[in-house]
Amino acid sequence: MIKHLRSAADLDAATATLILDTAGEMASLAGREVKKLPTLRGRTVVNLFYEDSTRTRISFEAAAKRLSADVINFSAKGSSVSKGESLKDTALTLQAMGADAVVIRHQASGAPHRLAAWVDGSVINAGDGTHEHPTQALLDAYTMRSRLGRLDGLRVAIVGDVLHSRVARSNVLLLTTLGASVTLVGPPTLIPLDVAALSRSTKVSYDLDSVLPDMDVVMMLRVQTERMQDSFFPSAREYSRRYGLDLARMRRLPEHAIVMHPGPMNRGMEIAPEVADSSRSTIVEQVANGVSARMAVLYLLLGGKA
């Protein structure tokens, strides 16, 4: 088993599949009255969050607690970090406290790589800048597999601000590793110039309507309205008209296709409320699956056996 999960590229097909299978076993716990395993009793998991992210932090916290780990939440606000402590000094502090795993969310790409050089425990990337968010990709893959029965050969469209999206990067890497084919869709300003760097097989389209009829999965990315100020697109209205998923567009999808969103959503911008709340939408399931996927990652990285 790998020691750190810094990038979805750390996962080969066998490891990724093992994590998804383990997540399945973890999910079966959720139906029990006592939702707790003793597996990580006595182990310490630190949630080191430099960015506000309630949903991801809570998800990791629930995952660690269901495995009986001791959880320390270290948020950048109201801590020594806001007094200007460096990442290295924070890392040395966590090291001295004996953290077995550090879950890090950070606004700088590559912060988990730096952290891994300074602590002995496992480092789990919970989102770094515009780089990656590998556990999101794992829970997305888990959700697709649960709904559609397989990943190999699936056709997945990832739609929106791919350029700035850590969710997109991790999903492209993981889905490609697991045999799915990915099409990135968005205005050309929000698609990286060198998509082949992520995966040679990834396709690009600027026309959402033409892509939808061939997809098994369409994943809508959150689009930040401040991108308008930087001239990535002219207005929320134009973005929504060209790349938003409304009911009419959803009808272009094959009957079995699902709609995903990593949240938080801009309802009415990249996704219409009727679509978000439809039976094709997996958005609430994704949240539940997030806990199972993160339990699997903690369990396996901290030395549990499958």
Partner: protein, 421 residues
Amino acid sequence: MTAYVLKGVSVLGASPVDLVVRDGVISSDKSGVSEVVDADGLVALPGLVDLHTHLREPGREDAETVETGSRAAALGGYTAVFAMANTSPVADTAGVVEQVWRLGREAGLVDVQPIGAVTVGLAGKQMAELGAMASSAAGVRIFSDDGHCVADPRLMRRALEYVKAFDGIIAQHAEEPRLTEGAQMHEGEVSTRLGLTGWPAVAEEAIIARDVLLAEHVGSRLHVCHVSTAGSVEVLRQAKARGVRVTAEVTPHHLLLTDELAASYDPVFKVNPPLRTASDVAALREALIEGVIDIVATDHAPHAVQDKECEWAYARPGMVGLETALSVVLSVLGERWDLIAERMSRAPARIAGLAGHGTDLAPGSPANLTLVDPSAHRVVDPGELASRSRNTPYAGTTLPGRIVATFLRGEPTVLDGKAVK
């Protein structure tokens, strides 16, 4: 003054001779020589001249001082370095450039020639008192806002014109600022993979293209700092073919390293302009050999530990380079001694109008020279650097060549590979 004989030295790779250094000049008079330097197997080069050094004093003496930087330079075979203006306070007045110049004289290890800022506070708004800096004791001839681009085309035009009155030259840091907002590394496949904001090659090329046209229009000289892309080389090639008075430099690291190194997220590889691709490296090497790029300049940029031991995006850009420059150039060009002397000593001295440096090692010439052992190899150990900072990208790398001795006006600054003071 002590007289030295450098026994059996090979001047620029020629057959071994005995070279006498006496009263600050090269001499043919062997009488009364008191010190013998065994130079068997060593190659003599004119003392190296660096047109692009950051000495950090005044302001960041924790990263480098004029003295520690001078020592690093001497150990790297340099006898003159040009100190960039982005200190704190900025070297934008006669007072600051004279201070740096005086500190250099006091250290006495290399000739420290201050570069003056083009604009007040490097802010790109108002021209600094270039004439006052030129007339000062420091005798400034090179002006640069390095670290920042003189982006305003009208201000750049005026600066190019204004310095003609005292045969000055503007050294441009070519970076269109709007195209590089938030930029962290070369824009390309690697930046896409790493999720780091890209610094596109066109941001450099567009400014060089504009500036060669401006220099041509007003009939001025232009020097382009740290050229890093194949496209820039093409712009320079065309401009030179048209007769534009433009010169250009490349750093050792842009001749050797590529953007793939950023994959570690270790900011020791973060530099501005950023490391580019292997095809850029190939084009820069070819341009240096051909002469489209005139010189090698280090862009020696020392940084304190805390400014590099952090997240990539928060780290300061830059690498130390004075003590490894010749070795890197040797590994890139091989033992083409005359070419190395031209690109690292004669041409930079000529561009700067610096008398007494970059001259042939003939009787009567100032004894500014360095002795290289081309057969030696060394593994770069950051802890052994004389620079106050440790941010070398070559830690653990084996590089060819070793500086054995350096002489500044006939006095040794380095002997047996060690600084004399």
